[in-house]
């Protein structure tokens, strides 16, 4: 850690300081140093770039770019800032994509939303935002959304025209006597969901894939700035409904850090309990989707059967099966009626009764092994290079789990161990989900027992301890928080202004973004049959892909 600090201090910095336990926060004085810093960091071992997050300070005329570098092995992280002039003509900086492959789409996103031009980026095109925003930068503070909204019909027409133009031109360059073609895999496709893959293929063989994303773009990062700090959780939890609790935990932690509030032990244990419940319900879907994409629906149905019982617990706690809005800054939203644990116990019993069958029939399925054991393999180096996280990283043997690396809620009181697989193939990722499912249930059991004991001892009061008051207006500040989401690392970067009632900027770094980036890399040279398999094994949710 000290070494890293020293390394940064060699460059001209406004400040270099410790932040949390495993972060260093630094600000570069000049953007010209960026490439040198990045090179030094890479040799130092910080090989992953988590995300690139611009913040638009319109009054100061500054576009502040935040880089989050991570080292998945030694857990040393760097939060690097650098200022750019805000003016569109000169708002440009060297691209880090040649050094950090993971920066690719993140820089494209920053370009699309804020108009920051990254010099020497190999493929600086618009991403996520729809065609009507071409040459407009919707997340800039001075962008006039209302004026844009008035033209809805014309905007949709623009999207249609662009699509038709693309469809009429995309095959013009192909040789007329070859069997090459371009397929639209999605959005009206049984396995795709709202995403479109432009599959350039020669018969069954894939030449390249260009994912077209943004079909469920809701501009959540902009939406939260229109809401107050409590209301924002509605947008944050809709990052992806499959595991909504943990994304709310991440946001709540960032707000609490700025407000300087510490939550009660009861609330932190409840966050563990609810978070793992949501993780389980997400993993059930993930496992089902993996097999669905190979044409076998039985596992999805069996999982759905058990999943309902976990949703029952969420429903009895919050009143909603999925959109729970159960976590808010300051703790958890509701007190706990201890009878609700009966529902949870039912779910756990159901789980225990079924899990062996699932393992015997599906996890050890020989046909699945034949299909998936060799395709989509990722080495540990590639995990670092592309900044992958969550089950995808652990399936390749990389020991990274934010619940252990940077414990939040009550995870530090649980003895967790890294669960990893070795070979990093599609099958390993599936087995990884399954193993993590089992470990999540073990965590729930521990958390449940702990809460029950503490309540019986009188250490916790389940009806009163759930909330600590968080002021409605927050001071000027900035915080990041990371949570281990069902799909990987979610990094929330929250910026507030003085006496703010609503977030000034909230960057949500979601794992599916990086994982979708891998599709082209993994699928080149494979056959069409592997698209759904690898797509399913990467555990992508379009919700957090587009945000």
């Amino acid at each position: 850690m000290e070494h890293l600090k020293e390394l940064i201090s060699r460059f001209s910095c406004a400040y270099v300081e410790d932040y949390k336990k495993i972060w260093i926060k630094a600000k570069l004085n000049s953007k010209d140093d960026l490439l040198d810093v990045a090179k030094a960091l890479q040799t130092e071992g910080l090989r992953s770039l988590s995300t690139v997050s611009p913040t638009d300070f319109a009054e100061d005329g500054i576009m502040e770019i935040n880089y989050f570098f991570e080292d998945l092995d030694t857990k040393r992280n760097l939060w690097l800032k650098v200022d750019l002039p805000r003016d569109e003509a000169v708002c440009e900086i060297e691209s880090l994509t040649p050094l950090f492959a993971s920066a690719n789409w993140h820089e494209r996103e920053a370009y699309s939303m804020f108009g920051v031009r990254f010099l020497h980026h190999p493929d600086l095109r618009d991403i996520i935002k729809s065609e009507d925003f071409r040459d407009k930068y919707p997340f800039r503070v001075d962008f006039d959304w209302d004026a844009h909204e008035k033209e809805t019909v014309a905007n949709v027409q623009q999207i249609v025209d662009a699509f038709k133009k693309e469809q009429s031109e995309n095959e013009v360059d192909l040789e007329s006597d070859s069997s090459e073609t371009i397929l639209n895999w999605g959005p009206t496709h049984p396995a795709s969901g709202p995403i479109r893959l432009r599959v350039h293929c020669d018969g069954e063989e894939i030449i390249s894939i260009d994912p077209d994303i943004g079909y469920v773009w809701r501009a959540l990062e902009h939406l939260v700035t229109k809401k107050d700090f409590i209301g924002a959780i509605v947008a944050v939890e809709r990052l992806c409904f499959m595991d909504n609790i943990n994304s709310m935990v991440g946001y709540a932690m960032a707000v609490e850090e700025i407000a300087g509030v510490t939550i009660t032990p009861f609330a932190s244990w409840m966050r563990v309990l609810l978070g793992e419940t949501a993780r389980i319900s997400s993993h059930f879907m993930g496992m089902g989707v993996f097999f669905n994409n190979m044409g076998l629906h039985t596992l999805a149905m069996w999982n759905m059967d058990t999943r309902e019982f976990f949703l029952d617990f969420l429903e009895s706690y919050s009143g909603a099966r999925i959109a729970t809005a159960a976590i808010e800054p300051g703790g958890v939203r509701y007190g706990l009626d201890m009878r609700m644990f009966d529902e949870l116990q039912k779910a756990l019993d159901k789980f225990d009764a079924n899990i062996d069958e699932v393992e015997a029939i599906f996890v050890k399925n020989p046909t699945m092994r034949m299909r998936a054991a060799e395709v989509g393999r990722l080495s540990a180096d590639e995990i670092h290079m592309f900044g992958l996280s969550g089950i995808v990283a652990r399936a390749s043997g990389v020991k990274t789990d934010i619940r252990i690396d940077e414990p939040y809620a009550a995870y530090d009181k649980l003895d967790l161990e890294y669960i990893t697989q070795e070979r990093g193939s599609a099958r390993d990722r599936f087995v990884m989900i399954f193993e993590e499912l089992k470990s999540s249930v073990a965590i729930i059991k521990k958390a449940k027992q702990h809460i029950e004991e503490a309540v019986a001892n009188g250490e916790m009061n389940p009806t009163k301890d759930h909330m600590v008051k968080v002021p409605k207006k927050l001071p000027k500040g900035e915080a990041i928080s990371r949570v281990e989401w069902a799909r990987g690392e979610v990094l929330m970067h929250l910026v507030t202004q003085e006496k703010a009632k609503s977030p000034y900027r909230l960057k949500m770094r979601a794992p599916s973004f990086n994982h979708t980036m891998m599709l082209d890399y993994l699928l080149r040279g494979q056959t069409l049959s592997d698209i759904p398999l690898i797509f399913g094994s990467l555990y992508v949710c379009q919700g957090d892909l587009d945000r």
């Binding site: 397929l183 396995a191 190979m294 076998l296 399925n365 046909t367 049959s529 759904p532």
Partner: protein, 318 residues
């Protein structure tokens, strides 16, 4: 004349195929649902038994879309041809003792050829759909048919070699418990090839939903899709009936011989097929080709050798 009419439109012709389609479709859905821990169709009729009747009637009367850019004749005539060709083999099947519509000494050949033509018609449906996914589905079904039919024909020939006849009725008459045991390896090969021919998991590659939408079915709607569905179920019937006739002694049963046994045998094959469907994911096209040419075909040849051996040992006297 009236007998021909009866055969063509009632049994084993159109009406029989339609009832079979409705019934088997319902049975598939209900059985699949049970394996999924669900209930399946339940509220229309007793245990949802009208549901598939409604489904198919709806398809029959819904709008049939002919997309822009297709050859309308090829697009619309193919489903009809597919149904007719799929229904023809049942004319050669000895459904009951001394009930065969077309008595032929070459019944087995006719059966194999008619079953073999079907995939080519389905390829043409995909070819005529003017859709990339349909075309890919068509190519896939052709690839699969060619590689699976080799093993299929070789396996189907084993009873013919054993009993020295191509007449299906004669094969059934000569079959016994002992001949079933001798033909058992052939039956297993026939069954695996059957999965491939009928596009059932793990060989449901041509209409792989998650890969190429719905293969050659993608552009079909309404009446045309209804016809393709009927063709599919009629094909099921032809292939099941072939298996039952060739290996399982057709209508022969315990205590008495009846069509009932024929039906139960077909149903049990369907049952095994559905169970495999509920427990096996799809394999890829190249894996299928590997499997077919590296294992199925050599094994089928080996099986023929075994049949010759068994014949010289036990069946020469007969």
């Amino acid at each position: 004349m009236s007998e021909l009419f009866f055969n063509a439109f009632v049994f084993p012709g159109l009406l029989y195929v339609l009832i079979w389609t409705v019934g088997l479709f319902w049975f598939f859905r209900k059985f699949m649902a049970a394996l999924h821990k669900r209930v399946g169709p339940s509220f229309n009729g007793k245990a949802g038994s009208y549901q598939t009747l409604f489904d198919l009637s709806k398809l029959l009367t819904k709008e049939s879309i002919t997309p822009d850019g297709v050859n309308p004749y090829l697009f619309s005539i193919m489903p009809l041809l597919a149904v007719i060709v799929a229904m023809l083999p049942s004319a050669f099947i000895p459904w009951m003792d001394s009930f065969v519509v077309i008595k032929s000494d070459y019944g087995l050949l006719a059966l194999v050829v008619l079953i073999g033509i079907e995939p080519f018609l389905l390829f043409l449906t995909g070819f005529g759909s003017h859709n990339k996914y349909s075309f890919l589905g068509g190519i896939r079904i052709l690839t699969q048919a060619i590689s699976m039919e080799t093993a299929f024909v070789l396996a189907a020939l084993s009873p013919a070699i054993l009993f020295s006849t191509l007449n299906l009725s004669a094969i059934v008459e000569q079959s016994s418990w002992f001949s079933f045991l001798v033909l058992f390896p052939g039956f297993i090969l026939y069954f695996i090839a059957l999965l491939g021919l009928l596009e059932q998991p793990p060989f449901n590659i041509p209409d792989a939903e998650q890969e190429i939408v719905f293969g050659f079915y993608t552009e079909y709607s309404g009446t045309n899709y209804f016809l393709l569905q009927v063709a599919m179920f009629a094909e099921f019937m032809a292939v099941f009936a072939g298996a039952v006739t060739l290996f399982l002694g057709a209508y022969k049963g315990i205590f008495f011989d009846s069509y009932l046994f024929f039906f139960l045998k077909m149903l049990s094959i369907a049952l095994v097929m559905m169970t495999i469907r509920a427990a096996t994911p799809r394999i890829t096209l190249s894996q299928m080709l590997n499997f077919s040419w590296k294992y199925m075909v050599p094994l089928a040849l080996l099986n023929i050798a075994w049949i010759f051996f068994a014949k010289s040992l036990w069946f020469m006297g007969a």
